[in-house]
Symmetry: C2
Subunit: 396 residues, 2 copies
């Protein structure tokens, strides 16, 4: 005997169409937009012949990112994964360490931990903001960890726990005040994965600015794109200089000599891509407004639909609503796959959340805390088309 | 009492000026060139909105690279260092292994070995082609290595020796026949670092095609640039598929689901950069001809200058002469620094060879064979301005 789930697919899709334009243009999950200056700056970079590692657009783009986020420094790199890798290195993560991170995240977070020779230690997520849950983290650490000589250790594995990497899922800020308290209690630096949250603020301060360092991504599906790209933001000048050094093969400045003083990386963003990013910065505030207007429409459209909850921005935050998300009621999880199938077949770019990290073969043996909320969210979540243009006619 | 060195700085600089144009344009070490199609294809990529990980220019560029080199497959990646990293991984290099590579190379070769958790084992170079010397390698292996169960081990450290990474220095092909024989004798796969040798052939076959895999670089100073970029070439379809998988976060193909089956990398070349590369391919053959014409002029100009030797292409090879190089006689090494200073002060882009890898702090403790030739070359070598345009008026 089965009970009728409270959610109804046709009703959900009908609600979607009250928000989305039926103009025949693609309704992908997140489409970038380009204009006259995107073309002009990229051509300028080509005409200058400075397309590669040196060029004025890298400096301009970094300055623009620092201005927008309020960070003292921004260092542009080749993508968000590279940003995370270097951020973890400068936070002191070493081979054999463990790093706390949500199981509900994009693969880059866990992979960057692996690149350092460390292992992820998975934490549960909040069903309010979809990000790392500080309360469950605190409970898990009490059960698992101890402080020795001012450093945090895993009592079960004996490994040092070296950092916490929260990720602001779909642009919604994590509860940073609570997380900072846990981090302080357990002597842990925070590396903030703000790949999805450029334009998202927690209590008026840009995400990525609460930890020691924060990382951004400018992949093609992000609110600002450089083709591929990323950045690290920080208020610490010394750390910023070290990041610049490590991301440019750790070569010492000299007119012609090649002397490198550490194992460095070829992670700098080419000037060609920075030129695109510099143009994209000009439209960033507008794009965030359009995305927020789209989210407001979704919120209204789904308010009266039974069996679904639109994921809204948490209190005291301003989200960029990078990807709008809907949660099915717990009695309606069997509708997730048919809903994905039906919407994608109708040309709507929807998708489920990422497979949880602890379910992937290479991370299945990593230790995890109770991740029951993440497992619940994985069964219930669907992302909706979220391109800025879809909110344009609604934006103030 | 000092003897007068055989080389004379003013005579060398005068010979340089018989080759180089005095047109006031920069005489950098290697300047890229762009034309109408570079601008057109990049704009086309922007207008298509496919600037990032997906897009037709990546496929076109990969196909064009395969056609030019004759390799069955080419996989475009974010830069030459990333190409080397993945090439070593697919060659089976694992943490704790040692990898044979010349001490005279750019830092990327040694760093990529480190990224795999392996350590470089440094080999000497030939003063004919400036690349790894197979004879000295063979002698060193006889002294150091043994075969156990079909694998090569270092008798001194106990570590497995996992691969050989020759590098075609300044575009001059390594003596591949001899190297292949050594590799076979010691059961070692070859990962060919062809970062500098796009357009260079050994016995009619493109460099990078002799090993299991070969790697290319498209940095701004290379004969073909994508801003930043690289590629891996191979004739093995299975390895090519694995490279494509590993460089795209090891995500399994699916319309919407995110399932990754290995620790992968975000190393794919953005479509924006591939568009530039596709345009650059159209001028590659011409650029190589111009560079070869420039080299021929340098060769003539220095033929009668005492105390210097122009580094020519080795027999049975066709070099792209990526960077032209001059070797000072052993009795004239004290002239290297003044020559660098004087030429750079005069606006000529010259530079010494890279600091040898075994002299850098992070690689100083790595084991090395006799590297006396490399140490000699380091004291004697100076690179000369090598941009394609400098050879244009000389090219057929």
């Amino acid at each position: 005997m089965t009970t009728t789930p409270s959610a109804d697919i046709d009703q959900i899709i009908a609600a979607l169409w009250t928000v989305l334009p039926r103009d025949g243009a693609p309704l992908g999950l997140h489409e970038p937009e380009f204009g006259a200056n995107d073309r002009a700056y990229v051509l300028d970079a080509i005409d200058s012949t400075f397309v590669s590692s040196v060029g004025p657009y890298v400096d301009r783009f970094e300055k623009g990112l620092a201005d927008y986020t309020g960070a003292k420094r921004a260092i542009a790199v080749v993508n968000g994964t590279a940003a995370l890798h270097i951020a973890l290195l400068v936070a002191g993560v070493e081979p054999g360490d463990e790093v706390l991170t949500p199981s509900l995240t994009f693969i880059a977070t866990a992979n960057a931990i692996s690149y350092c020779g460390a292992r992820p230690l998975f934490v549960d997520s909040s069903d309010i903001n979809l990000g790392l849950d500080p309360e469950k983290l605190a409970a898990g650490l009490t059960e698992t960890a101890e402080i020795k000589n001012g450093q945090c250790y895993n009592r079960k594995t004996g490994a040092r726990i070296a950092a916490i990497v929260p990720m602001h899922t779909f642009g919604h800020p994590v509860d940073m005040d609570s997380l900072l308290a846990v981090a302080q209690r357990w002597c842990l630096p925070i590396v903030e994965d703000a790949a999805e949250s450029l334009g998202s603020f927690y209590k008026g301060k840009h995400t990525g600015r609460f930890g020691l360092v924060g990382t951004l991504s400018f992949n093609g599906n992000k609110v600002l794109t450089t083709g591929g790209g990323g950045a690290i933001i920080t208020d610490d000048e010394k750390i910023a200089d070290r990041i610049k050094h490590l991301t440019t093969t750790a070569r010492q400045k000299h007119a012609w000599a090649f002397m490198h003083d550490a194992i460095g990386y070829n992670y700098r963003l080419p000037n060609l891509n920075a030129a695109l990013g510099f143009a994209q910065l000009e439209r960033l505030a507008k794009a965030v407004n359009e995305k927020r207007a789209l989210a407001a429409r979704y919120k209204t459209a789904f308010a009266s639909i039974p069996g679904v909850r639109f994921v809204d921005e948490p209190p005291q935050t301003q989200s960029n609503f990078w990807l709008n998300a809907l949660l099915l009621a717990t009695d309606s999880t069997q509708l997730l796959t048919p809903l994905l199938e039906k919407t994608n077949a109708a040309g709507l770019g929807t998708r489920p959340v990422w497979t949880l990290m602890h379910k992937l073969p290479m991370y299945a043996t990593c230790q995890r805390m109770d991740v029951s909320v993440a497992e619940d969210l994985e069964r219930r979540l669907i992302n909706l088309p979220s391109s800025p243009r879809l909110g344009r006619s609604y934006a103030a």
